[in-house]
Symmetry: C2
Subunit: 322 residues, 2 copies
């Protein structure tokens, strides 16, 4: 059985978007539900998601494990898996890791760009690796079944996390830096370590992570995928589109600056282009999976490999979470 999975979306959720994901045939989506929210603020977000599930029960439901991906497929729905892009919701409390897992959290980044209590982000000058609390948190995340996500982390911290974690970790949304040297993209060495340990890379379709940005061609993206497969093997690659549909620009400003700075940081943008970048025309939304399928075949992948990249690889990874 083949599954289609987008392992990172952070859209301004609406029935329309859930319909698009269904139209794209997505059996599962890992959705970012919080960035810098603390535990109390997380509760408000979960209330909003409970409303989404109630109002759109014909399209979506909360996924807890890989069986829910199978269930989604058989019911023509999309299983929604919760993830956090920062560790803010666990605050400084190891006990909150089990609680957020009970509430559905299955992926948590140890840091988002800046230093967190757990590890260093890719926008810091120095990277001290996984901290004392970080080591404890990884152990606890392994125990309860939350995947360590290092998409926005710095290199040493990521290598540390791979080494410390007893379960494979994930980089849910980033690209290799050999193709496009964005701060968020990852080195060959790191990608090799990731796949050697059974970890997954979700290739990103966010323009700032793409060679030539919005003008990136499907061919270029698929050639990059082929080269990445040479480094990592074809079974450790999936899609984490990083789609941010219908988000107002103030959201990306908040993602980058949170509440910790008075000065503005433009992150991957610039002062003149501070907002969300435009998607490339072959991946406006998840329906672009169809274009990816064609493009990957043209780049030389066989049908099984394409199915792996578009969902089965993530499905197999989910099997190991719990």
């Amino acid at each position: 059985m083949n599954f289609k999975i987008d392992n990172l979306q952070y859209s301004n959720w609406s029935r329309k978007i859930f319909e698009i994901n269904r139209e794209a045939g997505l059996d599962a989506v890992h959705v970012t539900i919080v960035y810098h929210e603390d535990f109390d603020e997380l509760q408000v977000v979960i209330n909003t998601w409970n409303k989404h599930f109630e109002e759109n029960h014909d399209l979506i439901f909360l996924g807890k494990n890989f069986k829910d991906i199978e269930k989604a497929k058989s019911e023509n729905k999309t299983a929604i898996f919760y993830g956090f892009q920062n560790c803010s919701p666990i605050e400084d409390d190891i006990g909150l890791i089990e609680k957020v897992h009970e509430q559905g959290c299955r992926f948590m980044q140890l840091t988002y760009n800046n230093q967190s209590l757990l590890a260093t982000g890719c926008y810091e000058k120095n990277d001290s690796g996984v901290t004392n609390f970080g080591k404890e948190a990884i152990k606890e995340m392994n125990r309860v079944g939350i995947v360590i996500d290092m998409s926005h982390s710095a290199e040493k911290s990521t290598l540390d996390a791979i080494e410390i974690s007893e379960k494979p970790i994930a980089i849910t949304h980033a690209n290799p830096s050999f193709w496009h040297s964005a701060k968020r993209n990852k080195s060959n060495e790191l990608l090799k370590n990731l796949s050697d340990s059974g970890g997954m890379l979700g290739l990103s379709l966010y323009a700032h992570h793409l060679k030539d940005g919005t003008n990136c061609t499907l061919e270029s993206f698929c050639e990059m995928t082929a080269k990445t497969a040479e480094i990592m093997g074809v079974k450790n690659i999936g899609i984490g589109s990083d789609l941010c549909l219908n988000q107002p620009n103030k959201v990306v400003e908040w993602m980058r600056n949170g509440t910790w700075a008075k000065a503005k940081n433009y992150g991957e943008g610039t002062k003149n282009k501070p907002g969300f970048p435009k998607q490339p025309d072959w991946f406006i939304d998840a329906r672009g999976f169809k274009n990816l399928e064609n493009g990957l075949k043209k780049a030389g992948f066989n049908q099984e490999e394409v199915s792996g990249i578009l969902g089965n690889n993530w499905y197999n990874f989910y099997k190991g979470i719990n």
Copy 2:
């Protein structure tokens, strides 16, 4: 006019302790009011302090600036200055720095032993220095008038803070490592940098920071003070006793472990001696200031220098805070 100041106490506060501090002639005490409490928890602690001030208005009042030290002297009271041993109360919000200043905070450590959002603590394996948020926080602390305290921070983070801060910083309670190489004690290079920038060192009377611990002699302590004065100059040294009177041992366990670990960390203690260490018999409580006065004179300091170390130096430092 001479002032006596103890620039760090964290006792289990009671009228009895306020009386002892008066008996010792303390015009001002910088008290630790929180370690790992967040902003909401800080409010509860401040309520408790408001009760202390109400019930003991003949002994103490909340100090806001150096003039309150003069006022305390003239009224035979002790001015209480609030300080935080960790940056937890500002959470991830730069705006909370001004709020905690309004509530009386005058000293804040950027980190307590472990990595914080602002800097690295002395118990971490690697020290990445002051973080992006840390730089913003220092600027804001400078602006509103909160002293950067690096007592429990790692070396590079402390050197960074000295360099970044536009106002002198403090190490409110620690000793030089040339005398006793505890993790918390400080290198000559760091102490030199501190005094060159106008910063203050508060010498600690906490047994784990003392050569020979509880059995440390007054003579040894005062000789160390003399050698420290050779490195730092005599005007940049004060007392930050770190007295933790009547605290139950569960408090030191919480100080060391907070809520971030399931495994126990014994910090400066050991598994067999996990609790608060005993004070040396010449400094059971603040009345030991009298012994310090005699000891420092015997070690060769003149009266003016002794008065500086026992309070005037801190008084002069307070003049520069606001």
